[in-house]
Structure formats: structure tokens, C-alpha cells
């Protein structure tokens, strides 16, 4: 019988430090997955942690060092092995969004799952309307996938804007190179600086605190709730609906984020208490 808890051994093909905290890994794995799904990453001796797939072309992850598993993972290099389970979760409704305009809103590490959406959309570019990407960072030093994103700014495919909190010399130079693309403030300020179509679909990922602000902003601007999708984080131990760590909501409307999510709409946020 298939044992869902048995990790598959995969080889690390490539790694790169993205920032002082985040490390990127390319895995030698063949997987059928959807943008927004996640893996349970296993490091023998350290344990398991849920990590989003941050790519569409191949299987890549981007991991912030915060605890036991992520620290052990940071010690792994090209050619080493790790374990994976999954993919788990529902993922973003990419089919439903086809033919429509799309705005991606990422805060910090929220870039990881949204990069998968971005790569998917670029791969299927003709199927989608105008694509806008809002990315909020603390400072340039914390910007993930920097080279890739700056390259994207030079192209016409995606309308990419960055909100930053701390300005430095480098940001000032980038502002000169890419006028109107870097804005000081939180990611929500980009909605004031950049003209957006409120009929767009929106996909959001960021730290827990970010969702409330983003949802409030969208409501003010008159976006459709059923077109706003967020991917949420909880403390997950199994990824399969068994350990109940990721429970949210009260009574019959409660959900397990790993099984029923991690992607939920702003409508869900109305019906499920404390979802965001």
C-alpha cells in the first residue's frame, strides 16, 4: 500500500543563496503540480516542513532559514539528497483566470509561490490578459530573484512594480534605470501609484499581517471578492488533513488549510472566521 508519509529521495541539482536568509534549490524531480501547491520537504534528522514550489519550469524551492528543518536544509548543497512528499494543496485557479487580467501581489517570501504563478503565466502568456506584478520588500538586499525580476522589467510581458521600505544608493540607481517602477512604501501603496483594472483577478501571498491590509485596499478600490485569491500559511505537520495543526474557522465552516487550501478566496475570508 502507498504510504503517504514516506518521502521520496531527490537530488539537489543546484543551489544559490538569494539573500542572507533565503536559499534557492533546484531539485532533480519529475512532478505533476499546479502553481500554489506545496511540498513537504524532509531532511532526515531534522524533520519536515511545508515549502511552496517556486517554479513552473522544473521543481525549485526557496527557503528562509527560521528553524530546525530550514537550517538543516541550508547546509545541503548541489549533489546532496533530501526527501519530498506531495505536491499538496489546491493551488491557484489558473484555468479560471484564463482570458482575464491578472495582478500578483507578493510580500517578502510570498514571492516564492507567486513566482510559480508568474512562470506559468509567462509560459502560457497568450492565455492571459494584462499581467501586473506588485512586490513588496524591506530593502534591496532582501529582494528575491533579483536578476530575473530586473530582466523582466526590461520586457513588455509583465508590468512589474516594487515597493520598498528602506532606500539606499542602489535603489536610487535602479530608480534612474527603471523610472516609475520603484516606489517607497508598503506593497499596498502600489495600488495608489499604479493604475490597475479593478476587474482583474488578484493572487496574493505574503506574511500573515499583509492580507488584512491588502484585502482592505482591494475592497476600497472595488475589486470583486470572488476574484481575489490568497495562499495562507499555518503550522503544518502532515500536509494531508490528519494532524489538525492547520485548522481555521469555527464549527461547521472550519477548514484545514493543507487540505482545503492553502489557496482561499476573499469570499472564503468572509465566511471562515479568522482565515486572515
Amino acid at each position: 500500500m502507498e504510504n503517504e508519509f514516506l518521502p521520496r529521495r531527490v537530488r539537489i541539482e543546484e543551489t544559490k543563496m538569494m539573500t542572507s536568509l533565503e536559499k534557492w534549490f533546484k531539485l532533480d524531480a519529475q512532478l505533476d503540480f499546479k502553481p500554489g501547491q506545496f511540498l513537504e520537504i524532509s531532511v532526515a534528522g531534522a524533520g519536515e516542513a511545508p515549502i511552496s514550489i517556486c517554479s513552473w519550469n522544473g521543481v525549485e524551492i526557496c527557503v528562509r532559514k527560521v528553524g530546525r528543518v530550514s537550517s538543516a536544509l541550508h547546509q545541503r548543497e548541489k549533489g546532496d539528497f533530501i526527501g519530498i512528499r506531495g505536491p499538496y494543496g489546491n493551488g491557484f485557479p489558473m484555468k479560471e483566470i484564463e482570458g482575464e487580467k491578472l495582478i500578483l501581489v507578493a510580500g517578502g517570501l510570498g514571492m516564492a509561490p507567486l513566482r510559480s504563478v508568474l512562470q506559468y503565466v509567462l509560459k502560457n502568456r497568450k492565455k492571459y490578459g494584462e499581467v501586473t506584478f506588485f512586490y513588496g520588500i524591506k530593502c534591496l538586499e532582501m529582494m528575491l530573484f533579483r536578476d530575473e525580476l530586473l530582466k523582466l522589467m526590461e520586457e513588455e510581458n509583465v508590468n512589474l512594480h516594487i515597493a520598498y521600505e528602506i532606500e539606499d544608493e542602489e535603489i536610487r540607481n535602479l530608480k534612474k534605470r527603471f523610472p516609475e517602477r520603484f516606489h517607497k512604501g508598503m506593497v499596498t501603496t502600489l495600488f495608489e501609484k499604479v493604475k490597475v483594472n479593478t476587474e482583474s483577478f488578484v493572487v496574493v501571498c505574503g506574511p500573515p499581517i499583509m492580507y488584512k491590509f491588502v484585502l482592505k485596499k482591494m475592497e476600497e478600490l472595488g475589486f470583486y471578492k470572488e476574484r481575489i485569491y490568497m495562499t495562507l500559511e499555518r503550522r503544518m505537520k502532515c500536509g494531508t488533513g490528519k494532524c489538525r495543526h492547520c485548522v481555521v474557522g469555527i464549527g461547521s465552516s472550519s477548514k484545514l488549510i493543507c487540505r482545503d487550501g492553502p489557496v482561499f478566496s476573499a469570499i472564503d475570508a468572509e465566511l471562515i472566521r479568522e482565515l486572515v
Binding site: 500500500m1 502507498e2 504510504n3 503517504e4 508519509f5 514516506l6 518521502p7 529521495r9 524532509s42 531532511v43 532526515a44 534528522g45 531534522a46 524533520g47 519536515e48 528562509r64 527560521v66 528553524g67 546532496d80 539528497f81 533530501i82 526527501g83 506574511p207 500573515p208 499581517i209 500559511e233 499555518r234 503550522r235 505537520k237 502532515c238 494531508t240 488533513g241 490528519k242 494532524c243 489538525r244 495543526h245 485548522v247 481555521v248 474557522g249 469555527i250 464549527g251 461547521s252 472550519s254 472566521r273 479568522e274
Partner: protein, 325 residues
């Protein structure tokens, strides 16, 4: 269903006969408390009991168990293939297993739970309710499935229900111990069940899920201020499913075991994520979450354990009363 009769003076022989079907776990009394343990001799077993402190859940879902062995990044499963007999399980605890089945057997199946439950012969036993029981309210007063054999105490005999082919095999294996039931036995069975029914307090849980959601923080604080965050209430609950997973390395620092262990939503670390953010930081949030899981989602069998074993007397029915006030 097949109905039979087992005289009480035959129960010891019956007990001896079931060992051929697996390792027998039965209610055993020690330090004045009942718990389900391996039982070799009938003299160790207490069939007349109100509730075990720890429910029989741990026989199928151990408090702590290795789920994998690993050597570097190679993982190997560790599966328990022991045949077991779980004797003396009350209605509520059987219904609790049915609730756990819904969780653990739902795809993707949890093979650890599945392998154990399918290798376990369950022999139910009618209970002796007390004032803490409220199984009528949770619809878990009586069960018609979830067991192989069920023994109903009718004074000097057990009225026996046989529900599965496996159960039938067990009774046929010791044919000489069982008798056919007649009209009189049936009447005594109904009488015994009626008496049991009278002993359980009537309670009504309608609206409870909505009330749990509607009440604000101040409501929960009345109770949570007394809470020690000890997790006893979840430890003794037959329907609690939460577990934690962790690895332990051997001395070579390369191989080791991955374990899982019961966890409690009443403990602070249950909802903790990176950056120290906690989705259920305060005790009142955790208490409300527990009540939501148990009474809001109807995953409670009314066994009363959480009230009986709470060191500060936080009473689930008192919360119900207050919710409705």
C-alpha cells in the same frame, strides 16, 4: 446482526479463547484508574467500569510511535503488523473510533492507523454511566456498528451482538460457550439498555456551533482564566487527532527514526509559525478552538473525560450552559 447469549460464568473461558486471535488489550485497574493494557489473565481485567482515564484510542494510535526509519536520506516505513483484540470498549469509544476513521482513512489513507485498526478485533461492552456522561446529546449513546462483537451486561448473562464475519468466526470458535437467545433474554436486554438510558442526563446541543462563534473574547475568558494550559483535556479525549512529528538521530548521526506523538491544541506551540507569529496565541482562543472542534464540528462523544480530568474543573457542560444563557 447475529444475537447470542453468553452466561457470565463463561466469560473467563471466552476471554481465554480470544487470545488465539491476537494480543488482548482490555480495561485493567491500577492505582484506582482504568486503562487499556495488555491482559494475559482474566483476573487482571475489570469489565465493570465507568470510564478509562486514557481512552482505548492509544491501542490503535499510540501516544508516541516511530513511523519511519531513515539512513541519510533513505526512508523506510515501520508498520505494526500485530493482530490485536480490543476487549471491553464502550459505545462512546467505539463511535470515537468511527470519527477517527473518517480522518485517518480518508484519502490519502494513514497506513499506520489503517494497518492497526484492520488487524484489531473490537469487542464492545455496555457501560455504567455517571453524571459526567452526556452521550445522548452527542448521539453516541448506542452504536450499531464499529465493532465485531458487542457484550451487553444483563445481570447474570451478556446479550451478545455479532456484527462482522470476523466476529462470527470468534463466536463459532467457542461455540459451546454461546447459547441462542429467546424472548425472555431479549426483554432483559431491552430492560438493561433502558436502565442505562435513564442514567444519562439529557442535554441539548442545538445552536452550539453558532454560539461558539458568536460569543466574544470576554465570554471565553471566564473559563480560560482558570485554564493551566496543561493539555489534559485533549490527552484524555477519545476523538482528539492532533499529532506532532519529529526526528531523532542515532549516535552515528546519520540514521534515526521519525516519530509522531499526540499533540494538544491547548498548548501554546500548536499554532506557532515562523517569526514567532501564533495563530492561537491566547488561552481563550485555544479553548474556543477546542470547543469548536468538539461541539461545533460535533466531534465529541459525550464521554465526560475532559471535565473529569481537568485539574481546575473546567466543565464542558458548564460552558454549554453558559453559551446558551
Amino acid at each position: 446482526m447475529k444475537f447470542l447469549k453468553l452466561k457470565k460464568d463463561q466469560i473467563e473461558d471466552f476471554f481465554d479463547s480470544i487470545h488465539s486471535f491476537g494480543i488482548v488489550y482490555a480495561p485493567v485497574k491500577s492505582d484506582g484508574k482504568i486503562s487499556f493494557r495488555r491482559a494475559q489473565n482474566f483476573s487482571d481485567v475489570s469489565l465493570e467500569y465507568t470510564r478509562s482515564q486514557i481512552p482505548p484510542k492509544h491501542v490503535i494510535l499510540p501516544m508516541e510511535e516511530p513511523i519511519l526509519k531513515f539512513r541519510e536520506e533513505e526512508y523506510f516505513e515501520v508498520v505494526d503488523d500485530e493482530n490485536k483484540v480490543l476487549l471491553g470498549v464502550h459505545h462512546c469509544d467505539i463511535i470515537a473510533f468511527k470519527m477517527l476513521d473518517e480522518v485517518y482513512l480518508q484519502p490519502p489513507k494513514d497506513i499506520y492507523y489503517h494497518e492497526r485498526i484492520k488487524r484489531t478485533l473490537i469487542i464492545g461492552l455496555s457501560c455504567i454511566p455517571d453524571n459526567y456522561c452526556f452521550c445522548k446529546a452527542t448521539n453516541s449513546f448506542y452504536t450499531s456498528d464499529g465493532f465485531d462483537i458487542f457484550l451487553h451486561d444483563c445481570g447474570d448473562f451478556y446479550f451478545v451482538r455479532v456484527a462482522t464475519p470476523r466476529g462470527l468466526k470468534v463466536t463459532e470458535n467457542s461455540k459451546n460457550l454461546f447459547e441462542k437467545v429467546d424472548e425472555k433474554d431479549m426483554e432483559l436486554f431491552v430492560k438493561a439498555e433502558k436502565e442505562r438510558f435513564e442514567r444519562v442526563k439529557g442535554k441539548n446541543l442545538w445552536m452550539i456551533g453558532d454560539l461558539i462563534e458568536l460569543r466574544d473574547e470576554n465570554f471565553w475568558k471566564i473559563f480560560s482564566e482558570r485554564c493551566l494550559n496543561c493539555g489534559n483535556c485533549t490527552l484524555v479525549c477519545p476523538t482528539c487527532q492532533c499529532f506532532e512529528v519529529y526526528d531523532e538521530l542515532e549516535e552515528d548521526l546519520k540514521s534515526g527514526n521519525r516519530f509522531r506523538r499526540w499533540d494538544s491544541c491547548m498548548l501554546r506551540a500548536h499554532g506557532l509559525v515562523a517569526d514567532g507569529h501564533n495563530f492561537r496565541e491566547r488561552t481563550e482562543e485555544r479553548l474556543r478552538n477546542r470547543l469548536s472542534c468538539k461541539l461545533g464540528e460535533m466531534r465529541c462523544v459525550g464521554c465526560g473525560r475532559c471535565t473529569v480530568y481537568c485539574p481546575t474543573g473546567i466543565d464542558i457542560l458548564e460552558i454549554v450552559r453558559a453559551l446558551k444563557e
